[in-house]
Amino acid sequence: MDHPVYMVPNPPTPNRAIDFDAEICNGCNRCVEICRSDVLMPNPEPGHTPLVLYPDECWYCGTCVLECHHPGAITLLHPLNQSISVVWKRTTTGETFRLGMLNPPPPNTKPPAR
């Protein structure tokens, strides 16, 4: 806890909307270029992950993920008041799961129909 504390406004809600994995993202800014709401801004440091400047303006259309050439670099994060209502029940075991839970079940890797 030795970092300085600043006067900053409350974070806009939803807080994140879009999340970048700095290990995968190469800062190409393709997502910045196409974001319909300009949620994303280029990082002042070239080659770094974009900044989420206006998460409060995200439409959750997912086109930044569709546009990205590096799978896993961008994750669309539904705000908690949305994701918390996505609940499902496994007919075979009776288990209940929800979006964003700790220790989720293994991913379903089947791609969309093509």
Partner: protein, 661 residues
């Protein structure tokens, strides 16, 4: 590090605006056809105008690659009556649609779509969009035609609605724009139309725009203009705190306001529909049985299945029947026209008395959408094909849910737990909101059989035209309007812009850069405008409250909107949007004052005129500005089949379509 707050914490300084700032700098462009809005309608308009050999420019607020309400993809293509498998003719379909809408739909828009929707889809296929089951995954399915490999939705017998793999629709269209040499002005937001001599009601000769990243001012002079902007939004409800809107929040009525100020004639502006807006659930991402999920079995907490019923209320005994017309019923156009549909047109649905049966304890909450009970191909068609390709569901629902472990083969998706009354129609399962929360319905400009407005040089496509629409209707009408605009551009006389009109517009849009005491930002301004619309133009309307609404909006325009402050080009664009939203609100209130009768068909309730749909009011109430005065008028609902037009759809189409037969 991802967010601005994290950046501040780590770097200890505020990053500078990343784009050059060019407030007030002017860029003048000349073109033949100017298309306003680069969404689905705008791209098709631009492509088809360009195919006629004229110079074409597209003005797009965002980036044409994925922009617009339909920009994130499409899973079903409606009204393709001319596809080789269709059992319904464009004439029958349009006649039925006009009857079902009580006559309030736009005949030319419907007919153009019914006639050209299939050819438009073939255009898309040639640009790289998959429209057939070429890999044979659905071979043998009841909804697949084995010769054409086309797949149908909702009504497997009539075969005019197609299932398509349209997630890449917009990138494919943008590629075609570039291939054809269409000039694309991305990130330029329309602010006004230019008219001959700067006069309201004169020929439209171009438009002005504002670059949303640099603040640069654009003047585009054109021989013909196509209005292809989306439905005005953020008019009744605005909150970024709990965001979840089905419509693109970037569509805020610049096109509507610009056309209104230029003197274009509108109709159906009084209509609004409920909007759960910021209280909605993730669209098609919670249990439901509507649209994309049509036909999905719904079970209660104990696994008891809710029956599907036919138009007489009788329980269906098989799954197949959910996708087939009743005996003696020619076809089902479905819920796209009105809810509930007429008896003739009724689709199969979940038992409509479900709220009563939940209240009585017959069905226990929560309910679940259990795709695992469907045959494998039906399940895969809903979740893998449709959810996998529809706008706002490929990543937000398919990708997100499958990565989190959801598997439709074994998992039931829960329906949100709501009061029993909310389960009346699975379309409402997207969430509930207060009744004063409304949204723009089907209002738009009046067009003739050229899809031209009352203004010379101004054509329209998609949501800009009054009447119900969808992805295919935006595309087909864009295709048609693009041809017609190009045709006019070839013969249009030269003209000069009015410099005073440009200077006045420039002063208007840069005003928010001047801060003053008690300035507010665009968000608070937007929310305040919405409050006026909720209070004075909500579900129930009266003469006095509507007049109060006009008074309050005018007050906001002069006071708070006059002092709205923007600290960068992005905020400036948002502030200017709010000015359009005020104009859209004023027009809606004027239209609500002009219709002195309630209408169930138009979702329009006047407390002071309670009789519902009296026959003498079965007409289109029109509205336009003449010399700055809002001037109401009226048109018969079949205006498009009366002189000077021909008496049938097909004759009018043949006379006007500008296609070589």
């Amino acid at each position: 590090m991802t967010t601005w707050h994290e950046y501040i914490q780590q770097q200890a300084h505020i990053p500078e605006w990343p784009y050059p700032v060019r407030y007030g700098e002017e860029r003048v462009i000349k073109t033949d056809v100017l298309v306003l809005g680069g969404g689905i309608a705008g791209c098709h308009a631009a492509i088809n105008a360009r195919r006629q050999g004229v110079k074409v420019t597209v003005l797009e607020k965002s980036n044409t690659r994925w922009s617009g309400n339909g920009g994130a993809g499409v899973d079903h293509w409606l009204s393709a009556c001319a596809n080789p498998c269709s059992q319904v003719s464009p004439e029958d379909f349009t006649t039925r649609a006009l009857i079902d809408s009580g006559g309030y739909d736009c005949g030319p828009l419907r007919y153009v779509n019914a006639k050209e929707s299939w050819d438009t889809l073939l255009d898309c296929e040639s640009m790289g969009v998959q429209i057939r089951d070429v890999h044979g995954e659905f071979k043998g399915a009841a909804f697949r035609d084995e010769n054409t490999e086309l797949m149908f939705a909702y009504d497997y017998q009539s075969k005019f609605d197609l299932r398509v793999y349209g997630y890449n629709m917009k990138p494919s269209l943008q590629k075609e724009l570039r291939r054809l040499g269409v000039e694309i002005l991305d990130r330029v937001m329309l602010t006004s139309l230019l008219t001959e001599q700067g006069q309201q009601g004169s020929r439209v000769i171009g438009a002005t725009g504002l670059h949303t990243r640099t603040g640069e001012f654009y003047v585009v002079l054109a021989r013909a203009v196509v209005l292809a902007t989306g439905l005005p939004g953020r008019l009744w409800v605005f909150s970024t705190e709990y965001r979840a809107t089905f419509r693109d929040p970037n569509c805020t009525g610049e096109g509507m306001a610009a056309a209104w100020n230029a003197g274009a004639e509108f109709t159906r502006l009084e209509e609004s529909v409920p909007d759960s807006a910021t209280l909605a659930y993730i669209a098609y991402g919670v249990g439901n049985a509507h649209n994309t999920w049509h036909g999905c079995p719904i079970v209660d907490a104990n696994g008891k299945e809710v029956p599907w019923v036919d138009r007489d209320g009788s329980d269906l005994t098989t799954t197949e029947e959910r996708f087939l017309p009743s005996p003696g019923q020619p076809y089902m156009v479905g819920h796209g026209l009105r809810i509930p549909p007429t008896y003739e047109n009724h689709v199969k649905q979940l038992a409509p008395d479900l709220p009563k049966r939940i209240s009585s304890g017959e069905f226990a909450l929560p309910l679940y959408a259990d795709l695992s009970r469907l045959p494998e191909q039906e399940r895969r068609a809903i979740f893998g094909l449709m959810v996998g390709n529809e706008g706002k569901t490929r990543i937000p629902v398919y990708d997100t849910l499958t990565k989190a472990g959801f598997d439709p083969d074994v998992d039931m998706l829960q329906v949100p737990v709501m009061p029993p009354g909310a389960y009346v129609h699975s379309n409402s399962w997207a969430g509930m909101a207060p009744p004063q929360w409304r949204q723009w319905a089907s209002g738009g400009v009046v067009v003739d059989w050229d899809l031209r407005t009352n203004l010379t040089g101004l054509y329209a496509a998609g949501g800009a035209i009054f009447g119900a629409g969808a992805h295919s209707s935006a595309a087909s009408s864009g295709r048609y309007a693009g041809r017609k605009a190009a045709e006019y551009a070839r013969i249009a006389p030269d003209t000069q812009p009015d410099l005073n009109q440009i200077a006045t517009e420039k002063a208007r849009i840069y005003a928010p850069l001047q801060s003053s005491s008690r300035s507010i930002g665009w968000k608070e301004l937007n929310a305040g405008i919405c409050r006026v619309m909720q209070d004075t133009c909500g579900q129930y309307k009266t003469e006095e409250a509507l007049h109060l609404g006009l008074y309050l909006l005018q007050g906001i325009r002069e006071s708070e909107a006059g002092k709205v402050y923007a600290s960068n080009p992005h905020e400036l664009a948002r502030a200017v949007e709010c000015l359009s939203i005020i104009t859209a609100g004023e027009a809606v209130i004027h239209a609500s004052l002009a219709r002195k009768a309630s209408s169930a068909l138009l979702n329009f309730m006047r407390l002071d005129y309670p009789a519902i749909d009296p026959p003498e009011w079965n007409k289109l109430v029109t509205l336009k500005q003449v010399e700055g005065q809002v001037t109401p008028g009226e048109l018969p609902t079949d205006y498009h089949l009366r002189p000077p037009f021909a008496p049938t759809y097909e004759e009018n189409y043949q006379q006007h379509c500008a296609l070589e037969q």
